[in-house]
């Protein structure tokens, strides 16, 4: 059973391969994600994060908010400052909240007894168990140069997979007079981690690191990555191939 709803500004798909899934199970996931969005969205003027950015005193911050901001601070330390949610005095934890929320939503489903499912929020995915076909879920990595192409297929059983990157704009694809002009070095980095929270936050940080990002992931135990650069070359970590279909 599979559902897609628009939330947090993107389609979020939940597929549960276990037979007894009901509409109420899906509702529970989407209701949870809605409450997260209402607290942490910087696009909602009355969200707690928006009120904090307008000066809500620290002693009035909720426990949930403190937890997320503490995780952001911890991630900043772990990524040598590359993961930073503060810009011009404003806090925007959305780079962490998405993975964190998917992770919690997946725990919710496990709590209901489901073992085989995935949650996909705009290409950031938490996998659990096997697909309805009884095989590991197959995830395609999209070509950053052409969204209609898949350049790699990986099979995962319980991990989280997140991609951070830019979409390449037409005028930047190829400039024969100034090769490489206006192109960033790295177009996308897909990270496989023990869960989506870990994969997402480190994908974000690794992308911000540019070329060094892949080395950062290589040095993280339990993470693999596939990075695509502006020369259409992919660089991948040592054990990435064990996921490749």
């Amino acid at each position: 059973m599979k559902q897609t709803r628009l939330l947090m500004g993107m389609p979020i798909t939940v597929e549960i391969a276990d037979a007894p899934a009901t509409a109420a199970d899906f509702d529970a996931v989407y209701d949870y994600l809605t409450t997260v969005d209402e607290r942490y969205s910087t696009y909602k003027p009355n969200s707690e994060i928006s009120r904090i950015n307008r000066g809500l005193p620290r002693q009035k911050w909720s426990g949930e908010m403190r937890e997320v901001l503490e995780l952001c601070a911890q991630t900043k330390r772990q990524t040598h400052g590359y993961f930073d949610i503060e810009h011009g005095g404003q806090l925007d934890p959305s780079g962490l909240v998405k993975g964190w929320a998917i992770q919690h939503a997946a725990e919710l489903l496990r709590g209901y007894g489901f073992a085989n499912f995935y949650i996909d929020a705009g290409g950031d995915i938490q996998i659990s168990g096997l697909s309805a076909r009884g095989r590991p879920w197959h995830i395609g990595i999209r070509n950053p140069f052409n969204r209609t192409e898949i350049i790699k297929t990986i099979a995962v059983r319980g991990e989280g997979v997140a991609t951070s990157g830019t979409s390449i704009r037409g005028q930047h694809v190829y400039n024969p007079h100034r090769p490489g002009a206006a192109l960033t070095d790295i177009l996308s980095i897909t990270v496989i981690g023990p869960n989506i929270y870990e994969a997402d936050r480190f994908a974000t940080a690794a992308f911000a690191m540019g070329r060094g990002g892949i080395h950062f992931i290589e040095n993280l135990h339990g993470f693999e990555a596939y990075m695509v650069d502006n020369k259409r070359m992919a660089t991948y970590t040592n054990d990435f191939e064990r996921y490749v279909v």
Binding site: S188, R232, M233
Partner: protein
């Protein structure tokens, strides 16, 4: 052989360029509903604090006609996406999925040749039978494409 490969790559680049250009034009409508969430902005906010183009702030109410408008079928690679836009009081109030990929396509998988261990490779499109897609541009191009055409319908 290398020259041949190089010219092929240039040709592909040019083809991609024109494709993306036309694609950009067709998806130029920025639906207000997309402004609701914080998500798609990880790299841009982290790198520079500048919001990405995708998360354009809410536009003022536009001249949409009230009613339900069906968007085009848009290819999301692993299936087709089609949405219906519901406009009330001149504003987009809801988007429903009429079609979302839920069938598993049977496609031919390319036999991977045994390769020496490498940490780098040239990217190459493959025929793949996948359940889910991850990627930098994933946040719903097909969705936006379908929605843009539904909104165009609402304007005319």
């Amino acid at each position: 052989m290398k020259k041949l490969l190089l010219s092929a790559m240039v040709l592909v680049s040019l083809a991609l360029y024109s494709y993306q250009r036309s694609h950009d034009e067709t998806t130029a409508v920025k639906p207000p509903v997309l402004a609701a969430g914080p998500s798609q902005s990880k790299p841009a906010t982290n790198a520079s604090g500048t919001p990405p183009a995708d998360s354009t702030p809410t536009q003022p109410a536009s001249a949409y006609k009230d009613g339900s408008f069906t968007g085009s079928l848009a290819n999301a690679y692993y299936g087709y996406v089609q949405v219906m836009a519901i406009v009330k009081g001149g504003q987009l109030t809801n988007v429903q999925f009429l079609r979302y990929p839920n069938d598993h396509r049977n496609s031919i998988e390319i036999n991977r040749q045994a390769m020496p261990y490498l940490s780098q490779e040239a990217i190459q499109a493959q025929n793949a039978d996948v359940d889910i897609v991850t990627g930098a541009t994933d946040t719903s191009y097909a969705f936006r494409e379908s929605l843009a055409s539904a909104l165009a319908e609402a304007k005319s």
